[in-house]
């Protein structure tokens, strides 16, 4: 993944370096601007077993701020916001790799440095007994639950 570019950022930003499980790192630029979750929409994406995005719907593109061509083939961690604790994603991967469904509140990072909160569900795509990838569906979260998640995640970081 490329570092984020200041030319893409809307508003004042802070720079942070995110370190991923695979040892890679990325410079991300974050602002305090929240994009409200659109009413009635579902954000849907699919990844391969390594977490690289293979499909995404229009709502995913609109909310992420990226073009589809910038998303397909990229790791899902493209959307990772530095306020999200690594332990949350560790739990996600452990759960889905065990063949189970994962739910959680997630703060996602946009291309423009802003963010949006979602209630995410991730399930393994199982065909003939084999996991061939993962489907993630995000929906509008309760504000109360988001506030609780903010507190929880702040204590985990």
């Amino acid at each position: 993944m490329h570092d984020m570019s200041p030319s893409d950022i809307q508003g004042d930003y802070q720079e942070t370096t995110l370190k991923y499980f695979d040892g890679n790192q990325r410079k991300v630029l974050v602002t305090d601007i929240e994009t409200p979750y659109p009413e009635g929409k579902l954000i849907v994406s699919r990844t391969d077993t390594k977490g690289n995005i293979t499909h995404c719907n229009r709502s995913f593109i609109d909310m992420s701020g990226y073009e589809e061509s910038e998303i397909i083939g990229q790791p899902h961690a493209l959307l990772r916001h530095p306020d999200m604790p690594a332990a949350a994603f560790e739990d996600l991967w452990k759960t889905v790799q065990a063949g189970d469904k994962w739910h959680g509140y997630v703060k996602n990072l946009r291309k423009d440095g802003g963010y949006y909160w979602v209630y995410a569900t991730v399930i393994p795509n199982i065909r003939k007994g084999q996991v061939i990838g993962y489907t993630s569906v995000r929906r509008k979260p309760s504000r109360q639950k988001v506030e609780e998640a903010i507190t929880t995640y702040a204590n985990m970081n």
């Binding site: 009413e39 849907v44 699919r46 795509n125 993630s136 929906r139």
Partner: protein
């Protein structure tokens, strides 16, 4: 013994005649006897499926999951008309947004599993769930509208298409609060194991229906313009999506 064809009970009342004609079309195309059976409820239809009394079904996405994964059905085609959900209130209700709804809300709804699921998902931002709301089950979307108008319910769940088809008199008394925009979940025509070897033939005939003016008119009477092929991969991912949403 004729094959059995049925349609998800969420079709509009003005589509029944169209489905009868579609069954005649199916029999002609497949050159076999097919009996068209309708069920008053989703439960009665589910029981018929359980007892292997269904061979061809125009299924809603929720039931498609069960039919494909548990009963070995395959998709012959989809109308590619997305199933969307509308939550409505009385036109003069003080509620202007989902977040203004409070625990104890009474929800008029049919037994349509897709719409009930999506409706409940859209109430989550207000921290509402099955445990702090009351479901008031109705037999049809007209009855859901009546329950709202008569003050028996605070909100109603509708298949968006059914809401749009309410009479202008009824609709003028209601106000949509939110409508889903999922786009990728739709009904599908599924065939069971006994007809599996005719899938390709049926898909070809279905997807060319719109080329014939009379057949196209029949499709329009069913509420859509054409059939599109739906491969196994597309169906499996739609089912994954439904299963991800079903908590």
């Amino acid at each position: 013994m004729p094959y059995q064809f049925t349609v998800s009970p969420d079709f509009g009342p003005n589509q029944l005649a169209g489905w009868h004609i579609f069954n005649t079309w199916l029999q002609r195309q497949l050159d076999t006897d097919i009996h068209f059976e309708t069920y008053d409820s989703f439960e009665a239809q589910r029981q018929a499926i359980d007892e292997d009394n269904v061979d061809i079904i125009y299924a809603n996405p929720y039931d498609a999951s069960f039919l494909v994964r548990e009963k070995g059905f395959v998709a012959a085609a989809t109308p590619q008309k997305p199933d969307e959900t509308t939550i409505a209130v009385l036109v003069d209700s003080p509620v202007q947004e989902i977040e203004a709804l409070t625990p104890g809300s009474k929800i008029a709804q049919t037994n349509d599993p897709d719409i009930s699921m999506m409706g409940m998902l859209m109430l989550e931002p207000a921290n509402l769930n099955a445990g702090n709301t009351t479901a008031i089950h109705q037999d049809s979307y007209i009855q859901v509208a009546k329950a709202l108008i008569q003050g028996k319910a605070d909100i109603g769940f509708f298949l968006s298409e059914a809401f749009d088809e309410l009479s202008s008199l009824v609709k003028s008394q209601l106000r949509p609060l939110v409508s889903s925009d999922i786009q990728i979940v739709s009904h599908a025509l599924l065939i069971g194991p006994k007809l599996a070897d005719r899938k390709e033939e049926l898909t070809n005939k279905l997807t060319s229906m719109d080329a014939d003016p009379q057949d196209k008119s029949l499709l329009q009477s069913l509420g859509f313009e054409k059939w599109a092929p739906m491969d196994e991969d597309e169906m499996e991912f739609m089912i994954d999506l439904i299963e991800a949403l079903a908590a």
